[in-house]
Point group: C2
Chain length 374, copies 2
């Protein structure tokens, strides 16, 4: 649930981001159907009360800017718990020094509205279906300041910066971690803090960020964290494009071509399902899709085409994320990819170019699990 | 409570230490008055039951080889909790590659006897003093294997080794961390695991290992661990020498000279209490003691003297452990020192030279808190 909109220029320093914390604090709208917590002790008090009453807590960590992907996590949590805690915190330590923490969207009011609407829907559905189908409710939003989350030292984005961190290696250095060395250290660190603050029975993460799910599962296992990690299927548009906060920057043309990432992974999955086990055969099927599309696009004019770069296409072990030469059918694997959608070179009058007018480079990621074969 | 007997040659590799785990597992004597847990899930079950019954858990982490210092922690825990969990686990990740994990004493049977005796004493004291003085009891011993504590990757002692770690910098690089770069990473990592496995209301550490207390307090604060860190005064011999597992290696002659560390710190403390605030004045008082003793020893013959080296004498901030030029009387400070007691050069017939016949170099550490002045 920790996603980052890449490619937007950074406007401000960490100092002004802490200011943003304070501004947000002042104007936080208080919702009706759940409590908002800005610090840990009162949240812990509520948690203890719930525990005494045999209620269960599902926890959904977010950085706000909620979309249907987040909502699907909460719906899943509502099916499995009496109470849902949602955190909204834009975590500075997972942004690298050259990444755009300050431009990450902060959309408190609309986030709260979405959560209130969801709570109403959960109540309505429960009432309509009768006593058979109990649904949990969002009970608490945890929206801490940076100072609450990083109480002693300023949160460092430097890989050799000082602080209190959880590091999970070599997992964190693979795939997405290759280009973003502090990212999974930041995610693991903030999740450890959030898990300790909320002590949930279950935590919910989206399959979309597969490496994040692997890192968090590893952290829970290695540190004996008393919670269950639940992974929720990627929410997709009808075309198959995985939902992402950054899709708003795509526009129509790049949205169509961006689907290539899904089509390439599907082709690789089909090769596996058809009995192929070698890296060459499985990833070759994916590469064939991306190569074909890229050739087609290059043949088009600048007002028609959308160029992209394949950052990586990976076939990896589901636990270690080590690259595989062959898939062990008893264990399966993880297919994942990242595509960099270049800015549009020339736009047409009236064209839907998305937020930022097609000028924002967008990095898309997606993955499919190759399930073990019986 | 994580102490390490230094200077004994290392006999075996990490592999044979894992074997030691297994051997211990096979012959674990089952005590009468508490349960022994070798894995996390059943311990968690007990913890949950205690929580439901409004009982409180005090946790005392140890590496076994229990002495009066550990017992004083448990006594304190018994005054403040209904139930006490004691862990016995020799943690590989806090031993450097050249340190002697394999020679760390493993004394399961005598440890269990001591804990049983203590439980009997706690019951007796409670019975004698009537209902006014409730005392907690040791309910559980957690004695995990290395595989339970490090389930996915072999525990690495390399500073750049792979694994799941908690790092607390720059705190961990100060004082003791200077000469032992992986030590506090290992301590923080294993404590995070142990705290998660036991979810105690309170954890108990000895003042003796002052840097450890500062690192653990910082970890609990930064990661929002829901426990209270209780620091218990250093247990001392009547002379003032701080109790330590490694004192058994000293023998009579080195025991007398080893007291210098305490006398030096006391001299520095007196300077502070007399109104001195500068590093030069406070540490000068300590240095004057060590210099005098060292000169006296050098003047003696090899059969009479005990030589030593001052590793460091430090005057530091109580939260950051940064060295101080001046003590802010409103905040106080930490005086700490390490002394390396050299092997005896020549021994006399019938002399009490301690375990290892005076040949084992012994590193002593000690500290005093300079309390803030009103």
């Amino acid at each position: 649930m920790f996603r980052w909109v890449k490619g937007v220029r950074s406007f401000s320093s960490a100092a002004s981001s802490l200011l943003a914390d304070a501004t947000t604090a002042a104007k936080l709208r208080q919702p009706a159907s759940f409590q908002v917590f800005r610090d840990v002790p009162p949240l812990r008090q509520l948690r203890r009360k719930l525990l005494k009453n045999d209620r269960t807590v599902g926890f959904v960590p977010t950085m706000g800017a909620l979309h249907e992907g987040h909502i699907s996590l909460i719906r899943q949590a509502a099916r499995e718990n009496t109470d849902i805690f949602v955190s909204i915190f834009v975590n500075p330590t997972q942004f690298g020094v050259n990444e755009d923490l300050s431009s990450y969207p902060r959309t408190w009011d609309s986030d709260v509205e979405k959560l209130e609407a969801l709570n109403e829907e959960l109540a309505r559905v429960e009432a309509e279906t009768g006593s058979g189908a109990k649904a949990g409710r969002i009970t608490a939003i945890f929206a801490p300041t940076s100072k609450v989350m990083y109480p002693t030292l300023p949160p460092s984005s430097e890989i050799d910066g000082d602080g209190s961190f959880v590091t999970i290696t070599p997992l964190s250095t693979k795939l997405e971690g290759g280009s973003r060395p502090v990212f999974f250290r930041g995610v693991a660190t903030v999740c450890m803090k959030l898990f300790n603050a909320t002590t949930p029975d279950r935590v919910y993460f989206g399959q979309k960020d597969v490496q994040q799910t692997v890192v968090i599962k590893r952290m829970v296992q290695d540190f004996h964290i008393g919670t269950e990690v639940r992974i929720v299927n990627t929410t997709r548009e009808p075309t198959g494009l995985a939902l992402s906060s950054r899709n708003v920057y795509l526009g129509e043309r790049r949205r169509a071509v961006g689907l290539t990432i899904y089509r390439a992974l599907k082709a690789a999955e089909e090769a596996y399902l058809a009995g192929k086990t070698s890296r060459a055969d499985i990833l070759g099927a994916a590469r064939s899709v991306t190569d074909t599309v890229l050739a087609e696009q290059h043949a088009l004019s600048k007002t028609e085409r959308s160029l992209f770069e394949v950052d990586y296409i990976s076939l990896a072990d589901p636990d270690s994320l080590e690259e595989l030469d062959f898939v062990d059918a008893a264990k399966g694997g993880v297919l994942s990819a990242a595509l960099k959608m270049a800015p549009l070179e020339e736009t047409k009058p009236g064209e839907d170019c998305g937020l930022g007018d097609g000028k924002v480079p967008v990095r898309l990621i997606d993955n499919l699990i190759l399930h073990p074969k019986a």
